[in-house]
């Protein structure tokens, strides 16, 4: 991993829209007076949600003013956490877990699929600028490995074919169904097993 640099192309200004503003105010209200700086991480996340999954520099300045804290302090926080995107990642941001359990279950096949369908490199926008992918560390769904996250939804129990199908749906502008792609409800056991009683040496 290298130092994530802010995008060279930056919008000139940024402003919360009404729903973001409301959310931001609710969060700031949770903290005591003069300690509103504590809300910086949550506010950066709100910006990211509003602004197609990435945080422009103008937004950091905006948050600095919003919370009455120096811009450089916001900038420090934003560059520290890898989950804040400092460059455009597209409307559909695909994160593939490649930590050990997913890797063993074939996460790199998913990466191949992304390379074919979206872009050759990580963090590179697709041709229509709507999509990009990246490898991430554990997303906490090891039971349903391998898996990927697209924006707020998890897509689990995947293989290369299923991934390509999902990606095609997205590239066509539709939303695929989240969850397990082997017919499981959440992370229940497969083949209708409810207990481990019928298994020897389980």
């Amino acid at each position: 991993m290298s130092l994530r640099k802010p995008s060279k192309e930056q919008p000139e200004s940024f402003k919360f829209n009404s729903s973001s503003l409301e959310a931001a105010k609710t969060i700031v209200a949770k903290y005591p007076k003069d300690k509103q700086q504590s809300a910086v991480m949550a506010l950066l996340y709100i910006v990211q949600k509003q602004n197609n999954n990435w945080i422009p520099l103008a937004a950091m300045k905006y948050i600095g003013k919003f919370l009455d804290m120096p811009y450089i302090k916001v900038y420090e926080v934003a560059t520290f956490y890898t989950m804040y995107n400092l460059a455009p990642v597209g409307k559909h941001f695909i994160q593939i877990c490649t930590t050990t359990p997913c890797m063993i279950r074939g996460a790199y096949k998913l990466v191949e699929a992304c390379k074919e369908k979206i872009s050759d490199n990580e963090n590179e926008l697709s041709k229509d600028k709507n999509c990009s992918w990246t490898e991430v560390e554990c997303l906490g769904a090891c039971v349903n490995a391998p898996m990927m996250q697209i924006n707020d939804e998890y897509y689990e129990d995947l293989d290369k074919e299923k991934t390509i199908k999902i990606l095609n749906t997205i590239l066509n502008g539709k939303t695929p169904k989240p969850g397990s792609y082997r017919g499981r409800t959440n992370n229940e056991p497969e083949n209708n097993r409810k207990t481990l009683m019928d298994l020897k040496n389980a």
Binding site: I72, Y75, E76, F80
Partner: protein, 680 residues
């Protein structure tokens, strides 16, 4: 008091200290990079690890509070191993470029690696490389050398009040950066060079100039402003290579302003190295004898009331004293003055021109009211103290005018002098604020003393303070920020002529009453020359020398021993670090020799006689002054106007600074600095 053991020695320390401070009390030095007495505790370099009994792991002593009964060990194998480990990690990414690094010889990392460094590296991977950052004309960066102690970040945020430096990224990619790509908007910025424990931030004007062990170090006093900052002058032969701060908790703590630090290259340029005489508008070199004889014949043929002497901003007290003796005794003239503008002076009592609460007292104050002052430019170090007071006590600060960014929030009035009347008549909210404060601080700046209503502003507020018992032996709330290093000294020695506070010599000078004008290092005087014969004595070929008919080359403040009294009335001695160039002489000597030429008698046999005579006079003056009762002036009038704040050309305020290339660069870099008027 806490009782604890350090290396089996019993020590008693106050509560609230850290383990590191307790060890220092016990006389044991702990290596450190990130910890600094004047900054907040970060605890991120891990070099100060010590062993504490019952603690299974080594403890970072800078961040651990000392507690009762602690048994601290700093010399065990355990500690040494821990520190060696830390050092190995620090050196993993630190380049081995000490031979080309400006910090070499005074580098904390270099010194400490002599104790804790391992002789060879086990780190086989590539070292990281970090791009250089642009931090303006004063600070050179070499960020690959940075060990992320964050001292500079904390200094900028806490002391300088410009949160513009930060640490971005994480882990190996962590970088110290300023997003601005330009110099910091602070007059204290170059202190990060001293703070940096490695060679990541070094001094740009001093780059590759000298090694610390080659330099002669002389402890001295700064003359760029009236604060009397304690400095160390480093010289290589004749050249002053750099100026560093010296710790004085009562005045500058550990900081010096950028002007103090970097105007020193002006000592090499534009120097007057031989006497000159002006013939037909052109200067020609002359010998000392020639110029002295010309001056003698001129002075002898002119009525003594038609001669005047003006002393400048950087003149030391010995020279001021002999200058006065020369005028009073040799010439019999009393037309001497040290003010180069029409500022108001009430010399009746010493407290009328001093910063009476003392610089230390700022921290105790509970209300600060500034009248016509911009301390950020008039006394940078003092402004840092006000910021410190604000951070510590949330001191309420009000300014009579809006004066732009001061690095701390303040309220401002509109600057109408009518407000002063309201205040002294108890018709203003400020009146109650002053009355209710236990230790108020009223600061008069040059702009208020220069205005036409200066007498009214100063005297009526003083009377108001006296009536409300805010001027007493315990706390004197009357404070004046003097303009120059020589100001208080010259007032103490009586280098002024005034009846009602106005500048009589300057008035007469402007009316062309005088035929001979003796300028002693005066470069800030706006003078339309008519038929006056002007003698200029000074170190630099600046505005004063330009209009002179005869030039006597003198010495700069680093080239002669001299006393200076700072704005709080503290007498300090600046020591000779270098010597005057070529034919130039120390200032007092020139006047002494001139007196000998005039009267065949020296004023003083040697410097010691001059010093003791001057110190005697000062002591007598201060003793006498303490017993004087001040009289109150009443029924004064004022002009309806808005008090104007002089925007001084900070980087160009005296002859030395004007000759300095670095100051020019600073000026150009900050040319966009504007008063936005929205702060506060």
């Amino acid at each position: 008091m806490l009782k604890l053991k350090v290396n089996e020695i019993d020590v008693e320390v106050e509560e609230g200290l850290t383990v590191l401070q307790a060890c220092e009390k016990a006389g044991i030095e702990i290596p450190r990079f990130c910890y600094h007495e004047k900054l907040s505790i970060a605890g991120n370099c891990r070099m100060c690890l010590v062993e504490i009994e019952k603690s299974p792991k080594p403890v970072a002593s800078c961040a651990m509070p000392a507690t009762e009964g602690m048994n601290i060990k700093t010399n065990t194998e355990f500690v040494e191993k821990a520190r060696k480990g830390v050092m190995e990690f620090l050196l993993a990414n630190h380049p081995l470029d000490c031979p080309v690094c400006d910090q070499g010889g005074e580098c904390d990392l270099q010194d400490q690696s002599m104790f804790y460094g391992v002789d060879k590296s086990r780190y086989k991977e590539n070292k990281r490389e970090v791009s250089e950052k642009n931090m303006g004309p004063l600070i050179k960066t070499q960020m690959t050398r940075c060990i992320h102690c964050t001292r500079c970040v904390r200094f900028a945020t806490e002391i300088a009040g410009v949160p513009e430096i930060g640490a971005i990224g994480r882990g190996e990619e962590m970088q110290i950066t300023t997003y601005l790509e330009q110099s910091m908007e602070s007059e204290l910025s170059a202190n990060v060079v001293d703070l940096c424990p490695v060679g990541a931030l070094t001094s740009k004007p001093y780059v590759f100039e000298a090694r610390p062990w080659e330099l002669k170090k002389t402890e001295s006093i700064d003359v760029m402003d009236a604060v009397g900052t304690n400095i160390r002058v480093d010289t290589y032969g004749w050249e002053v290579k750099r100026i560093l701060p010296r710790i004085n908790e009562d005045i500058n703590e550990e900081w010096i302003s950028d002007k103090t630090r970097y105007a020193c290259d002006g000592l090499l340029n534009q120097r007057l190295d031989t006497p000159y005489i002006k013939y037909n508008g052109k200067f020609e070199k002359a010998s000392w004898n020639e110029v002295f004889n010309i001056i003698k014949s001129k002075l002898k043929n002119v009525d003594k009331d038609k001669i005047c002497g003006i002393a400048g901003d950087l003149v030391n007290m010995e020279t001021l004293y002999i200058f006065k003796e020369f005028f009073n005794k040799t010439l019999g003239s009393y037309n001497i003055e040290s003010r180069t503008d029409h500022s108001y002076l009430n010399p009746e009592k010493r407290e009328n021109y001093l910063f009476n609460s003392k610089i230390n007292g700022i921290e105790e104050a509970d209300f600060i009211f500034m009248v016509g002052s911009n301390p950020r430019y008039e006394a940078t170090i003092l402004n840092a103290r006000i910021r410190k007071a604000y951070l510590q006590n949330k001191t309420k600060i009000v300014s009579f005018n809006n004066i732009g960014e001061l690095t701390y929030p303040y309220e401002s009035l509109d600057g109408d002098i009518e407000n002063i009347k309201k205040i002294i008549e108890n018709n203003h909210e400020i009146s109650n604020m002053i009355k209710n404060a236990k230790k108020p601080l009223i600061i008069f700046g040059q702009s208020s003393l220069k205005s036409e209503s200066a007498k009214y502003i100063f005297e009526s507020i003083k009377t108001f303070l006296e009536k409300n018992e805010k001027i007493s032996k315990e706390w004197n709330s009357l404070n004046i920020i003097s303009k120059n290093a020589s100001t208080v000294g010259s007032f103490d020695l009586g280098v002024y002529k005034t009846e009602d506070g106005s500048n009589e010599v300057l008035k007469n000078l402007e009316n062309h009453v005088f035929e001979i004008v003796y300028l002693l290092g005066v470069d800030n005087l706006k003078l339309e020359k008519k038929n006056e014969f002007i003698i200029y004595q000074g170190s630099h070929g600046d505005k004063g020398a330009e209009i002179a008919d005869i030039i006597l080359p003198g010495a700069a403040y680093t080239e002669q021993n001299g006393y200076f009294t700072n704005l709080e009335g503290k007498l300090q001695k600046a020591y000779k670090a270098s010597y005057p160039p070529e034919e130039a002489k120390e200032d007092w000597l020139i006047i002494n020799e001139l007196a000998e030429v005039m009267n065949h008698r020296k004023l003083f046999n040697d410097k010691d006689e001059l010093d003791s005579s001057m110190l005697n006079q000062i002591n007598l003056f201060i003793e006498k002054n303490n017993s004087i009762k001040s009289s109150n002036l009443e029924n004064l009038e004022f002009k309806q106007e808005i008090l104007k704040i002089d925007i001084e050309d900070y980087y160009y305020s005296n002859a030395i600074a004007r000759a300095s290339k670095t100051m020019l660069e600073c000026k150009n870099a900050k040319i966009n600095l504007k008063l936005t008027g929205t702060e506060g």
